[in-house]
């Protein structure tokens, strides 16, 4: 009898292990043993798995967490964030393994948050209160049902980073305020860009790639890309398309493809002055790809023409298959809401999305990097960009729309004869194919 009971128990265990679904009773017991609103014991043991694309962030934040909880280990799988939605989708469809802590990048977040794989963090036992983070982030943390599916790893305010030496050489000044005054809108920026290109004999561009600019322009629109089952291509993407074509045609921007090694390499060269720069890009792009910049300190940060935006951003949430949700929540709280987490972020030049750490330690707003000389870029982001930041509502269709825009952009990049209007038509065609039951105008 006992043997049968044992066998049944084992069979039950193996099934749960296979599905990776902890039962409700176990979770209740865990919650009772380790209340979610109190810290875990320091000798707590556990392992968390993650799929990610930012090893600097992962290493820094997990090492800080392990200082507090030395018996916790992490398993990290590096993936391409562009394939995130497919990877999660495949795992869900095929009963594959999901990470314990799921990352979600802004490009595909709208779609990923609709997948039934997230613990609702606003509910018990997590009871996360959105007011703990900056207001402008709120719409970006919830799905269409209103469930909080993740919390931002860091704030992603974006302005324009620029090469001080090149700005001074080609624009006459390296002072951010003077540059902002010189180029209050994209028209004046294009104008100056044409001059720089000509002045440099076709060697120096204002920008690196049309890809980053397209995304920046698009975020400046502050309009959701899709409303219900309707997409107004002209209204939503017309200005962006127009600006992209002008930047291309006027030689204001190079045609490097964003995120390719070539594009990365260009940051260490002297052929481009401006780049869109979110807070995370300081470490991820500039510091990583411009090794000489450390001693030269030749970068500066300024507000973009026509306003700054939130660019990119990654949330961390708890998947439903997480084997230790209590630990996962402790880690996410530590990484996104705690003062210790904020300190670890600050060492990377990142800014915590939570309000409280700034109240406790106002110095977390400050961040100086040798690449930016004496400029306090932390304060610049927090005081000049965040208060007036432009955001748009995300939608589940964002990823496909984003991919379609990328495709058209590649066409624009490779065929300079393609006009903005043609581009809009291509985009419309792509979207109609991607969303056959949508009204695409």
């Amino acid at each position: 009898m006992g043997l049968w009971a044992g066998a049944a128990m084992l069979a039950g265990c193996s099934y749960k292990e296979k599905r990776g679904m902890p039962d409700a009773q176990t979770e209740r017991q865990e919650a009772e043993q380790f209340p979610y609103d109190e810290p875990l014991p320091e000798d707590y043991e556990g392992t968390l798995t993650m799929w990610g694309w930012d090893e600097d962030y992962y290493r820094t934040i997990t090492e800080a967490f392990q200082k507090k909880y030395p018996n916790v280990t992490f398993s990290y799988t590096s993936i391409n964030h562009g394939e995130l939605a497919e990877k999660y989708g495949t795992a869900l469809l095929a009963e594959g393994e999901l990470p314990d802590v799921g990352w979600s990048i802004i490009d595909s977040r709208g779609e990923i948050f609709e997948l039934d794989m997230w613990e609702p963090l606003e509910q018990e036992p997590y009871c996360f209160d959105l007011s703990e983070v900056f207001d402008y982030l709120h719409p970006r943390l919830v799905n269409t049902k209103g469930n909080v599916c993740g919390i931002e790893q860091s704030l992603s305010p974006a302005g324009l980073a620029y090469r001080r030496d090149l700005a001074k050489k080609y624009l006459g000044t390296d002072d951010p305020e003077e540059l902002e005054a010189m180029m209050p809108d994209w028209d004046s920026f294009i104008e100056k860009g044409r001059e720089v290109y000509e002045k440099s004999g076709g060697q120096v561009y204002m920008c690196f790639s049309l890809g980053d600019l397209r995304q920046f322009f698009q975020e400046q629109q502050e309009i959701p890309w899709c409303e219900g089952k309707s997409i107004d291509v002209e209204k939503n993407f017309g200005k962006t398309m127009d600006l992209v074509c002008r930047f291309r045609d006027e030689r204001v921007s190079d045609n490097l493809v964003a995120w390719t090694p070539e594009w990365n390499k260009a940051y260490g060269e002297d052929n481009h002055i401006f780049t869109t720069c979110a807070a995370w890009a300081v470490q991820f792009t500039i510091i990583s790809h411009d090794p000489e910049g450390k001693k030269l300190g030749h970068w500066g940060l300024m507000s973009a023409p026509e306003g700054n935006v939130n660019l990119g951003g990654t949330t961390m949430g708890i998947t439903r298959t997480c084997k230790d949700k209590r630990l996962a929540w402790e880690f996410i709280k530590f990484a996104t809401l705690s003062t210790e987490g904020a300190q670890a972020l600050n060492s990377l030049g990142l800014m915590t999305p939570a309000r409280k750490p700034y109240e406790e330690c106002p110095e977390f707003k400050s961040y100086k990097s040798p690449w930016f000389g004496d400029q306090d870029i932390g304060l610049y982001y927090m005081d000049k960009i965040v208060p007036n930041i432009k955001t748009r509502l995300m939608t589940p269709e964002d990823r496909k729309i984003h991919d379609s825009q990328s495709l058209v952009l590649n066409v624009l990049n490779n065929d300079r004869t393609v006009t903005a209007e043609e581009g809009i038509n291509m985009l419309r065609e792509e979207l109609r194919e991607a969303f056959p039951d949508f009204q695409v105008d």
């Binding site: 562009g82 990877k87 495949t90 390719t260 070539e262 590649n410």
Partner: protein
């Protein structure tokens, strides 16, 4: 015999020490031999085990590479992908980009089926390049990447199956896509870029409890290294040829195992110290079993010997007690061991019984002797007797019978001299002296009891110098006077006759008094003390004389007492015929 004062070792301890020593030496030797043999065996087994584990880890990697190979082939034969590859001419850049995008999506689709795949690149012989990362497709970067030496070497080197072309934690596996319409013509190469960690997780798992582990990629590139002090790298370099198997190197063993499918080598170094540590349980086992066996055997032997030796120890203690003369405290109980010890006990018991009886005999004798001497002394110096004698002396002196006084005092003096001279050396006297004493006594009694009795003393010639126990005749005469004649209240006669019957001296004391009562005669015959009718004073009784004769000469000699024919009592003493030493000297 007096015991020496030195402290003696206990028999059990001595035996135990000797056994322990012999055991320790023999077991140490056998343990050492056993350890050397088993350690060698275990060392061999451990090395084989290590080789097996390494082979298992390599086999796991091999299985993974085979899985990837099969997966890569399934990508190549994908119908949709093949159809897309058929599209070579495009009306516009937009169409070409769409084509690239669809190719990328198809490659991504396959990539998502294997979480360890970072990206896939398809390099066509006609110059087209596709990547699962759509943005990378058709870029100069991709072209440059595919021209890289490591990647390019895939095409030429069969051994370069899996390699680490960028040194960035990504490895690459190429699979050729052949033209089905032209046999042997390569149409393209599919490169699958994978996270090295996918393989290294297996190696790490294997390396968890190892000191030195190394995964060597193509061309000797180190893909994983757990080599704290660089010993493994040095040994590999020294070894030169990467031949699989176990190789003896300085300070340990180098084990190599190929990962066949990948063209890699998995290596581990098992140091001699680690090997010893792995086999240290053998030492611990032998040490523990040695100690445990020793302890167990000693305890067992100790208990066994305790049971065996306890009777000897107890016997020894009892003997010691006996030697200290404490026989009375001895409780002799035979411990039934059924062997020589039991015999020892029985013999000792017998001996002890004899000793105890002898001791009791001696004590009784001593006591009797003391009592008799005391009785003799007390009888002779009885104050009342002296008082009466002295009153008689006073009476005679007052009557002016000086000669009688002199005679009486001389008799008293003679009596005292003979009776007070007692002790170990003076238990016997001559018949002459004994008769003189009797005569002196009778002289004194004649003054006390005039006309009451007459006495005759006769001695056969030649017997006057014979030895007799002291004070044996006088008490009998006294007894005849006081308990035979005086109670008759008429004049009586006492006859003392010393004669010889063969080798015996026979002394007869007769009186014609009231005779002996049947009760006293019965008591005498049963060896008990006789009762006097009037115990006016203690006297040396008949029983005393009898006992002394028995004591001095044994049961063969003694006293007879019977009714005398014609009334009165006849006492007959039978003694050995012994002459005084002076007489013997003279005879010689």
């Amino acid at each position: 015999m007096e015991r020496k004062g030195t402290k003696r070792k206990h028999l059990k301890k001595r035996l135990l020490w000797n056994i322990a020593l012999i055991l320790a030496v023999s077991m140490t030797l056998s343990t050492a031999f056993g350890y050397v043999f088993f350690n060698k065996l275990v060392k061999h087994q451990k090395l084989s085990g290590e080789e097996g584990q390494l082979g298992q880890a390599a086999g796991q990697l091999d299985f993974m590479t085979e899985d990837i190979r099969q997966f890569a082939k399934s990508i190549l034969i994908d119908e949709e992908l093949q159809n897309l590859l058929e599209e070579k001419e495009f009306d516009s850049e937009y169409q070409r980009q769409r084509h690239c995008n669809r190719m990328a999506k198809r490659l991504v689709f396959y990539g998502n089926l294997r979480p360890y795949i970072a990206s896939t690149i398809l390099q066509m012989e006609d110059g087209r390049n596709y990547s699962s990362s759509y943005l990378e497709s058709d870029t100069a970067y991709l072209e440059e990447k595919l021209k890289g030496q490591e990647v390019a070497s895939f095409a030429e080197e069969d051994g370069y199956v899996y390699s680490d072309p960028y040194g960035s934690g990504l490895i690459c596996y190429p699979v050729h896509m052949m033209d089905k319409y032209e046999f042997g013509r390569r149409e393209g190469i599919l490169y699958i870029e994978m996270h090295l960690d996918y393989f290294l997780d297996q190696v790490r798992e294997y390396a968890q409890d190892k000191e030195y582990v190394c995964l060597l990629g193509n061309n000797g590139r180190v893909l994983f290294e757990q080599d704290g002090d660089g010993r493994l790298a040095a040994d590999l370099e020294e070894l030169g040829e990467m031949k699989s198997g176990i190789h003896k190197v300085r300070g340990g063993y180098l084990i190599l195992c190929p990962v066949e499918g990948a063209g890699w080598q998995l290596a581990t170094l098992v140091t001699s110290f680690r090997l010893w540590r792995m086999g240290s349980f053998v030492l611990v086992f032998f040490l523990l079993s040695f100690l445990f066996s020793m302890l167990l055997i000693l305890i067992f032997i100790s208990r066994l010997m305790e049971n065996r030796i306890r009777p000897i120890t107890e016997l020894s203690e009892r003997m010691r007690t006996v030697s200290y003369g404490r026989l009375d405290r001895m409780e002799m109980e035979v411990i039934p061991t059924g062997d020589e010890i039991e015999t020892l006990y029985e013999c000792f018991g017998d001996m002890l019984g004899k000793l105890r009886r002898g001791e009791e005999e001696r004590k009784r004798y001593e006591k009797q002797k003391r009592e008799m001497e005391y009785d003799v002394l007390m009888s002779q110096i009885h104050p009342h007797y002296l008082y009466n004698v002295l009153n008689t002396v006073v009476y005679l002196a007052a009557a002016g019978r000086n000669k009688d006084v002199v005679k009486l005092v001389r008799s008293l003096s003679c009596t005292l001299q003979n009776t007070l001279n007692i002790g170990e050396e003076n238990v016997e006297t001559t018949v002459r002296k004994e008769l003189d004493l009797t005569e002196s006594y009778l002289d004194i009694q004649r003054y006390r009891y005039p006309e009451c009795f007459s006495a005759e003393i006769r001695c056969q010639e030649g017997l006057m110098e014979c030895l007799v126990p002291k004070t044996v005749i006088q008490p009998l005469v006294e007894n005849a006077l006081l308990h035979g004649i005086l109670p008759a209240e008429r004049p009586g006669k006492i006859l003392v006759d010393v004669g010889r019957e063969g080798e015996e001296l026979v002394i007869r004391v007769e009186d014609d008094g009231v005779g002996i009562s049947p009760e006293n005669l019965e008591r005498f015959l049963s060896g008990e003390e006789m009762i006097t009718a009037k115990r006016e004073r203690k006297h040396i009784g008949i029983s005393n004389v009898r006992d002394r004769i028995h004591y001095l000469y044994g049961e063969a000699y003694g006293m007879e007492i019977r009714e005398r024919e014609g009334g009165g009592t006849l006492i007959l003493l039978r003694l050995p015929l012994k002459e005084a030493p002076e007489k013997e000297e003279e005879k010689r």
